[in-house]
Symmetry: C2
Subunit: 391 residues, 2 copies
């Protein structure tokens, strides 16, 4: 049977891998960073900019929970799927909604069947399950679908984590079964004929287990047994110590299937990305470049820069003197500070653009250095420079 | 003596004129619409877009009042003027601050010397006068400077208007004297050598007189006697009936110097622009395309369109089927409505872009039709189509 996607490794440096993920919507070089487009828009940036040479994002993420509640699946199905609804021809990955519902805390109730919760939009009672999540993601027509999982808190006990992990495994099986049926029924609005590919959606499994390595290994084994197009490490960056996160990645990533993409969900800072690549991760998503851009924080090659600081009031330098993005080519810190202090929307627009450029450019540097064999040097120099601003 | 700008009329249709305004920062075809960049940014749009083929704005406006208060003149002077501070090489016009201070109402006190007011930013006591306004505008280095004037309310009595108009005339003389000295002192941060031009700032006078035609004619005569590079009609669209506005324009514009640009301050809707052109106006500025874009109102060739309306929920048409801007080429009403309803910044960004494209494109159509002799037909068809949406 033809697969929904292909993954070829083309370069390796220690555990770090440089490869190509071939989807029905084109080639994606890995390691790759995926900007987060929660409600069908990467906040504060136009699609033309995402496609521009500055950013050249090959894949973005959409949030099933948000899109399901608003505008709702009927609207997106009527538009012919999420790609057409938002006007984006490149690849889309959608999460399962599980993490968002989990984040609602007291507002949700988890059972074997699924999760009942109240919508944050209108307070209505909703029910999300593996079957519903797969149905919604088929209507969205994303190119990569995530299984519906349950996330244990960062400091969960062994017992609590084990129960949660076993539920995730049972939900993964149900997700796969529902997913297969939906593909057979041609419910996927994003179906696209593609050379050597099935043209259907791809499905990724998610490894849970919090900070308990024995449970992580069991979760990995059971998830791989079910069989998916790619594998994600979930449940990290949810309140645990950073050392716990890297311990899990270091232990688990190298044990994951070598011929499938490895996706670290919801992580992280530029240094997190480089360190996770060094441990064998291929795919990332995170709201940091967009969210922090809106609150006045720039990511630069010399570390974080808070544009609100009075020290920039007359500073004619760009945000990052090593950056060649359109914001750094044109605008000074003094101007960006002024925009932020006067509450102008352009502050968010420009900081978001630069931050995404920095994240995506960092990943370009990572890929090149792995291919050329210079990744250890890149990693060392990148980390050293990040400390320069002393923030 | 070489002039600061040149104005050549190249086509005429009744009172409507098509010409070229040659400034130290390039040629501007007229009639022209100037997007408003209050605090050094046209709200919600990047400079790259203003320069793009879609919009191609040749001149934008900055507000002296806002920039004087924030970031302040020291910051802008240190940056080398407003062009350099914001990163815009094309022409800039700055208003005098008079209208903004006047709009503060009870918070300001007008005397012969000038206007005392409290800053809306920090409540500090400030004083603006012809001399201060000219000094601030020299520090901004705008290419076209406006005299400091006083605006009478739309329904002001004859006596009140006369007193206000006479003050404006005295302030115009003081503005010109201060302006001349500042140019001699090279206080203008925007000085630029330009072929056949002085390279200094240009200064426009402002005709006041509310709805009283006899006072308008006196104001015109006295303002022309003082002598300026261009002439503006001020104090319209400030609460008077629309018929009063057009009566004033119809009476005054044809009596204004034929060889100088005529600028109608702060007006208006697309139909206002076309009707004012028909009465002999060459330059416009207005916040409508940007402000209304942020509140969900689109200007289209079929009239206004409120993107919030439920009728667009599944509408796959662009905002304006006759528009070729990047927003109309890519996005549907259904998507734009979704963005607006979820409070996404991209709604404002995209509606602002389209609205500016529509205003600037309308002016392109106006210019072409005057040159080709088809302006009466353009005007008739444009007005007829605007009624199509029935809003």
């Amino acid at each position: 049977m033809t697969r929904a996607l292909r993954f070829d490794i083309e370069g390796q440096s220690g555990e770090a891998r440089a490869g190509v993920l071939i989807t029905r919507r084109g080639r994606i070089e890995t390691p790759v960073f995926m900007p987060v487009g929660t409600a069908g828009t990467v906040k504060g940036i136009r699609f033309e900019e995402l496609e521009s040479k500055d950013l050249d994002a090959k894949i973005i993420l959409g949030n099933t929970y948000h899109l399901w509640l608003r505008p709702g699946i009927d609207v997106i199905r009527a538009a012919g799927g999420l790609h057409r609804f938002i006007g984006w021809d490149r690849a889309l990955l959608t999460d399962s909604g599980g993490f968002q519902v989990w984040s609602l805390g007291a507002l949700r109730k988890i059972s074997e069947e699924g999760t009942e919760f109240r919508s944050h939009v209108d307070g209505s009672l909703r029910f999300l399950s593996p079957e519903v999540s797969m149905e919604v993601q088929a209507a969205l027509g994303s190119d990569i679908v995530m299984v519906f999982d349950e996330c244990a808190p960062g400091q969960a006990s062994h017992e609590e984590t084990e129960r949660s992990m076993n539920l995730t495994t049972r939900w993964a099986k149900r997700s796969k079964a529902a997913f297969k049926q939906l593909q057979l029924d041609r419910a996927d609005t994003g179906y696209l004929e593609a050379t050597d590919l099935s043209g259907t959606q791809a499905l990724f499994g998610i490894i849970q287990g919090a900070g308990h390595l024995d449970l992580r290994r069991i979760s990995l084994e059971e998830t791989v047994d079910i069989g998916f197009d790619g594998y994600a490490i979930g449940g990290l960056s949810v309140g645990e110590e950073k050392s716990v996160m890297f311990d899990v990645i270091e232990d688990i990533a190298p044990r994951m299937p070598k011929d499938a993409p490895r996706y670290l969900v919801g992580v992280g800072t530029p240094e997190d990305l480089v360190e996770a690549v060094a441990r064998g991760v291929d795919m990332f998503d995170c709201v940091l470049p967009t969210r922090n851009g809106r609150t006045g924080q720039a990511f630069t090659s010399c570390g974080k820069l808070n544009i609100k600081n009075a020290q920039w009031v007359n500073d004619s330098r760009p945000l990052d003197e090593s950056c060649s993005c359109s914001v750094c080519r044109r605008h000074t810190r003094a101007y960006l500070r002024h925009l932020y202090m006067t509450g102008e929307m352009l502050a968010s627009i420009l900081l978001t653009h630069h931050n995404l450029a920095f994240f995506l450019d960092t990943m370009r540097g990572v890929r090149q250095s792995i291919r050329s064999g210079d990744f250890p040097k890149f990693r060392r120099e990148f980390t050293e420079r990040l400390g320069a601003n002393g923030e």
